[in-house]
């Protein structure tokens, strides 16, 4: 499905276009500096392994931000009213992860769509699940 510009074009069950966002070490490091969350487990593979992880991990709050950006691309000009994410498992830096989303409900009077969201790790594990409420323009 291409970008949605009008609420009227939405249908419950629509899928957002899946994306594989950049979670390379330079990108994650840039995020950590912007977030003032510069911890070794996020920016150093060896240090993360010493903490018991398979490699450096993507910060949970960055994964939420990646999903928000996907929503903005799917519905340009929309406003995210609420985004709720559950961190179920680690997403590894320098891996290929896949984001998905689907419309689960709509409020035709308020022009609000509800979404289910997920991020799947390279090995197929679900790392993040979530929901969002999105306001479309009048």
């Amino acid at each position: 499905m291409s970008a949605i510009t009008r609420f009227e074009d939405l249908e419950i069950g629509d899928d957002l276009p899946g994306e594989s966002p950049d979670v390379s070490m330079p990108r994650v490091t840039a995020f950590c500096h912007a977030a003032k969350h510069v911890f070794e487990r996020f920016i150093d593979h060896e240090a993360a392994r010493r903490e018991g992880f398979a490699a450096a991990i993507v910060p949970g709050i960055m994964s939420q931000g990646l999903l928000a950006s996907m929503i903005h691309r799917w519905a340009p000009g929309c406003e995210i009213l609420e985004i709720d994410t559950v961190f179920r498992g680690s997403l590894l830096v320098d891996s290929e992860i896949t984001m998905t989303g689907a419309v689960t409900d709509t409020d035709d009077d308020a022009l609000i769509a509800e979404l289910d969201l997920a991020i799947v790790a390279e090995d197929g594990r679900t790392g993040v699940i979530g929901t969002a409420r999105v306001q479309f323009e009048q």
């Binding site: 977030a35 949970g60 903005h72």
Partner: protein, 151 residues
């Protein structure tokens, strides 16, 4: 299913602490960090990456990086094992956050509950931060779910 052995104690903790404010902190919102955050998250909408845009504002989850001075209130009881893990964040966007805003965050314990699953009984402690701008407008609410294993 709830664990009958821990419920009374947890119920008492909930009754005493849910709704209690315990931290007040201010945060400066800078365009540089707002743009860097949004770009690192792969954002392409100019509202979030171009400070010259007429509606330039922080990315929806930007306040999730703002940490309160304390994780728990003083004298909050030790419940569950260890420090706990980050179970997730819920963000409500109430109004745009602008570059140069000084936000005041008030932190409360919003909820305490337990769930039992394959990993046993886990205790969830929800810390809520409410962010207001200089005009006292509520701009963002962040719920942070901390998960601890019941002992």
């Amino acid at each position: 299913m709830d664990d009958d052995n821990t419920m009374p104690e947890l119920a008492a903790v909930r009754d005493q602490w849910v709704g209690v404010e315990f931290d007040w902190t201010t945060f400066e919102m800078s365009a540089e960090n707002m743009v860097a955050w949004a770009k690192a998250c792969g954002e392409t909408d100019p509202r979030f990456i171009d400070p010259s845009h007429h509606d330039f504002q922080a990315h929806p989850g930007f306040t999730t990086h703002c940490m309160s001075g304390r994780v728990f209130p003083k004298e909050f009881p030790q419940i569950g094992g260890g420090f706990g893990i980050d179970g997730g964040k819920r963000v409500e966007v109430r109004a745009p956050i602008r570059s140069g805003d000084t936000l005041t965050a008030t932190t409360t314990i919003a909820d305490i509950f337990e769930k039992t699953g394959r990993s046993g009984t886990m205790i969830f402690i929800v810390q809520r931060m409410e962010f207001r701008n200089e005009a006292k407008d509520l701009v963002s609410t962040v719920d942070w779910k901390m998960i601890k294993k019941a002992e």
